[in-house]
């Protein structure tokens, strides 16, 4: 198959008077990690639940590996690993028993089941928790168990709804490493999160939605290019930053100068030529320029620029 791994087509879902998802379309390639970003109530969970065959849209369809989740939900389910935003394991089962049960539910039998449970538990770092009840795990370990359960049937697409929420920084870094390994193994990952710097590091592409509508989608570089008409530049000078500030205010194409100690950050209209000309003028004006760097807009900047903070 050469088509996208996940294709959301004109999806709409309404709950009473709330339009949770509104004509949303996007696609996701194989082996890619796609961030799914939006303010609270933007419709991320709703979209993911529909993609995971747990809800049905009013209109539109979702195709996983070319299989419609509405027409062939059972086949689509075999390709999907869905990690919901909440994890509540069964009481009175320890970690291996919990994984073993789901392995059975996914149709794994005999030695293959045991092997899969072991390798998935080892991959998710659950080796040392064999005697722990599944309900007695910390949040981070619970998320690992949840991920392990999601990986049991080796799905092609992982749909992860805020998997890192509530994790401490170390757990988050470890979790990120797990996801990167999974993507390297060829799995497509659709991940929603409110921790944007992390998503920025992790994702190849992002889809930003607000009020159920797609605001922007594409690789982060593409979005950076499309969103930022002006480039952000960071300037560091030796000595008087105030003089540099005054100089910048007189320059054409420069706007929104912010001073932070000896560093100045400002927006500059025009391309590289404008930047080179400005640097020449700054040096000619006697400023001791130590650093003149173009700053890439990060995911947070993109998010703030593209969304209006509308919550529903």
């Amino acid at each position: 198959m050469t088509g996208p791994l996940l294709e959301v087509q004109s999806l709409s879902r309404r709950y009473g008077r709330v339009q949770a998802v509104d004509d949303l379309s996007f696609a996701m390639a194989r082996g890619a990690i796609t961030g799914f970003v939006g303010p609270n109530g933007a419709g991320k969970t709703t979209t993911m639940r529909i993609a995971a065959t747990l809800d049905v849209p009013d209109r539109g369809d979702v195709f996983v590996d070319g299989v419609s989740v509405l027409v062939e939900p059972r086949e689509a389910r075999q390709r999907i690993g869905y990690m919901a935003d909440q994890f509540r394991p069964y009481p009175n089962l320890d970690v291996p028993e919990y994984l073993d049960f789901f392995a059975r539910a996914y149709g794994l039998r005999g030695r293959r089941r045991l092997q899969t449970v072991r390798s998935v538990a080892a991959f998710c770092g659950l080796d040392g928790f064999a005697d722990r009840p599944a309900t007695g795990l910390s949040k981070g370990m619970g998320q690992r168990l949840h991920l392990a359960k999601t990986l049991l049937h080796d799905p092609a697409l992982l749909i992860l709804d805020e998997p890192a929420s509530g994790l401490d920084p170390r757990a988050r870094i470890e979790f990120r490493a797990l996801l990167k390994e999974l993507a390297a193994a060829g799995k497509g990952i659709l991940i929603s999160s409110h921790i944007l710097p992390e998503l920025g590091e992790l994702c190849d592409s992002v889809v930003v939605i607000e009020k159920g509508r797609r605001v922007v989608a594409g690789t982060i570089a593409e979005i950076q290019r499309s969103v930022a008409a002006e480039q952000a530049v960071r300037l560091r000078v030796l000595g008087d930053a105030e003089a540099a500030h005054r100089f910048l205010l007189t320059q054409p194409g420069v706007g929104a100068v912010a001073v932070d100690g000896d560093r100045l950050r400002f927006a500059l209209a025009g391309g590289d030529a404008a930047a080179a000309a400005l640097l020449q003028r700054a040096v000619a004006a006697g400023l001791s320029v130590v650093e003149f760097v173009r700053v890439e807009a990060d995911l947070e900047d993109i998010f703030l620029q593209t969304t209006r903070g509308n919550v529903q």
């Binding site: 070319g66 027409v71 389910r77 009175n92 049960f101 539910a105």
Partner: protein
């Protein structure tokens, strides 16, 4: 991820348990570790020991054996009618509340397997409790209190009731109504099963049960009574399991066929029972009772059938039978209120035919029954009552179906309509009464305004054959209601047939795609047919290119010299560039062997004489059918 590791040893239990339902394995694992289960087993053991000690203390009293049996069975009753069902209820509720059931549904477990697993777990628990109490039952036998038949029958009945109660509990738990209602639901379930257990404990504990069973065992009717109880419980268990399963199914799955088959199956089961256990002289009377009960049941099911969403879901549409005639035959069994009404009409017709056989008309009756069948006035009354029920049912269901159109096309809309139908009945019963109270001299006798009050009308006219005009009028009104729906019913069948045609078309497209997958063959075919890609460019002609719609849901345009430009659309009707797959992929050799015809869904025409063009056509067998077959030509 799957690092090379030493092969894990696999135990015998692990290998053996692979054959079991995963839910059963998990429930047993959980139960073994759970405190509630340990406590229940402990209590059962203590009670067993206490009863056994008391029996020993009583020594050789003549009724000691019966006393031990009664005490043992009284202990078993709450375990199988309260503890086991409530555990199943809790397990199901927990899974629903914590969203675990969604995780289960994402796995390969079907809702049916989930329900079956829970019933199997109930069976295991039943076995365990029986084995705890087995020493008591054995003691009662050894003390000559009861015989083996009594013990076996009692355990069999306990098993059947345990399964029935557990299925009802799972069904009640699966009906995930609003969160606020769940604690109330739990209280109602606990109260219901508690009261049932209490009543049974009283019945068993006072010794009445053992006495009655002993009496019944000695009578010839015992097999009939026992089989009726077992069949009734099995039917109730099946219905509960079906309902529970329905609530767990994906919203677009077919939730209707099971209920429709069940509805048709019940009267057949009842007739089979009558055939086996009732003496022929009473067949007519019993069949009349079945006719009435089946009609009533049909109307109750009809309320659910006729309030479903109108259209087929995309999933069901994609899985209707491929052939046109099979699709038409399958239509009454498929979801949708029009098809539901059709199914109900077929069912009522079948039940009506059965009623006609026992109607006091000697020719009809003697066709099936012995010439000397007894057709009493009561039998006639029952049949008239069934006719009244059918007429009222059809009238109210037509009204309900009309009302359903105004409600949102969602599951909530279905539920609302299901309450609206009995609501309408109450309204039409109440309004004439209020008119009588406020505008006339009070409610003293039936008059025309009460004609939509089924209870009063039936009470007055069902058992009086001399007042036949009311029944005739009602039956005419019901027939009018059916006539009004003819268009809807036709739409119901038409939708299935259209889905079947679409499916055939899609499969033909897929078949052709496979056939023309070979580049050489494809090139030859293109040359032969003069096919030109609708979407020129690198993507044209390929099944699916990056960014294009998937090939399986596409439309294509063919512009070939030998056939008119044709457009086809498959299941979802999105646009496609998969034009190559729309051609006819037969080779020259095949053409030589068979004559060729090509057709579009609308018209058929013979393959043109030009040799090159002929090569583009298909074998007669696959191409030359009626319009419905045409999609096999790929257009």
């Amino acid at each position: 991820m799957t690092a090379a590791r030493a092969e894990p040893p696999i135990g015998r239990w692990s290998r053996w348990s692979d054959r079991l339902n995963p839910i059963l394995v998990r429930e047993v694992q959980q139960a073994v570790k759970g405190r509630a289960f340990a406590l229940t087993v402990l209590v059962a053991l203590v009670v067993t020991v206490v009863i056994a000690t008391a029996a020993v203390a009583r020594g050789a009293a003549p009724d000691a054996g019966r006393g031990v049996f009664d005490a043992g069975l009284t202990t078993l009753v709450p375990l199988v009618l309260f503890v086991v069902p409530m555990q199943a209820y809790h397990s199901m509720r927990l899974e629903l509340r914590a969203g675990i059931v969604e995780q289960l549904l994402l796995s390969r477990l079907r809702p049916r397997a989930i329900v079956a697993g829970k019933l199997a777990a109930a069976l295991v628990q039943f076995g365990l409790y029986v084995s705890i109490l087995a020493p008591l039952l054995a003691t009662s036998y050894l003390l000559r209190g009861v015989d083996v038949a009594t013990i076996a029958t009692s355990l069999g009945l306990a098993l059947v009731f345990c399964l029935g109660a557990t299925a009802a509990a799972i069904s009640a738990a699966a009906q995930g109504a609003t969160a606020a209602l769940q604690p109330i639901g739990q209280v109602v379930a606990a109260f219901g099963f508690g009261m049932l257990s209490f009543a049974m404990m009283t019945f068993v504990g006072t010794g009445e049960y053992a006495r009655d069973l002993g009496w019944l065992l000695r009578r010839a009717e015992f097999p009939a009574v026992l089989s009726a109880i077992v069949l009734g419980a099995a039917a109730a268990t099946t219905l509960s399991a079906l309902t529970a399963q329905t609530f767990l199914l994906h919203a677009f799955e077919n939730r209707s066929t099971g209920f429709r088959v069940y509805l048709f199956g019940l009267p057949l089961l009842a007739l089979a029972w009558i055939g086996c256990f009732v003496e022929p002289a009473l067949w007519a009377e019993r069949t009349a009772a079945v006719v009435f009960a089946a009609t009533l049941l049909g109307i109750v099911f009809g309320v659910f059938f006729c309030t479903e969403q109108r259209e087929l879901s995309p999933r069901v549409r994609a899985h209707v039978p491929r052939r046109a005639w099979a699709a038409a035959l399958a239509a009454p069994w498929l979801p949708g209120r029009e098809r539901g009404m059709l199914c109900l009409l077929l069912y009522l017709a079948a039940v009506g035919a059965l009623g006609w056989l026992v109607w006091p008309d000697p020719t009809a009756a003697t066709l099936v029954f012995a010439p000397g069948v007894r057709v009493t006035a009561f039998t006639t009354g029952l049949l008239r009552l069934a006719a009244f029920t059918a007429a009222y049912g059809l009238i109210y269901l037509t009204l309900g179906k009309g009302l359903r159109r105004w409600l949102p096309p969602t599951f909530a809309g279905n539920q609302l309509a299901r309450f609206a139908v009995p609501g309408l009945c109450v309204l039409f019963c109440l309004v004439p009464v209020l008119i009588d109270v406020f505008l006339r001299d009070g409610v003293d006798q039936w008059h025309g305004l009460h004609v939509l009050n089924p209870f009063w009308t039936c009470e007055r006219f069902a058992f009086r054959p001399e007042r036949g005009s009311v029944l005739t009028g009602l039956l005419a009104a019901a027939a009018g209601c059916v006539l009004l729906q003819l268009r809807g019913l036709a739409h119901g069948i038409g939708e299935v047939r259209a889905a079947a045609a679409l499916r055939r078309r899609a499969e033909a497209v897929a078949w052709l795609r496979r056939r023309t997958a070979s580049p050489a063959r494809s090139r030859r075919w293109r040359r032969a047919t003069g096919w030109r890609s609708a979407a020129r460019g690198p993507a044209a002609g390929r099944g699916r290119s990056a960014g294009s719609a998937p090939a399986a849901r596409s439309s294509c345009s063919i512009s070939a010299p030998m056939r008119p430009a044709t457009t086809c659309a498959t299941s979802t009707g999105a646009a496609t560039r998969a034009a190559s797959s729309c051609g006819c992929g037969c080779t020259r050799r095949k053409w030589r062997r068979t004559s060729t015809w090509c057709s579009t869904p609308r018209r058929r025409w013979p393959a043109p004489p030009a040799r090159s063009a002929r090569r583009g056509c298909w074998r007669r067998r696959s191409c030359s059918g009626a319009g419905a077959r045409a999609p096999r030509c790929g257009c």
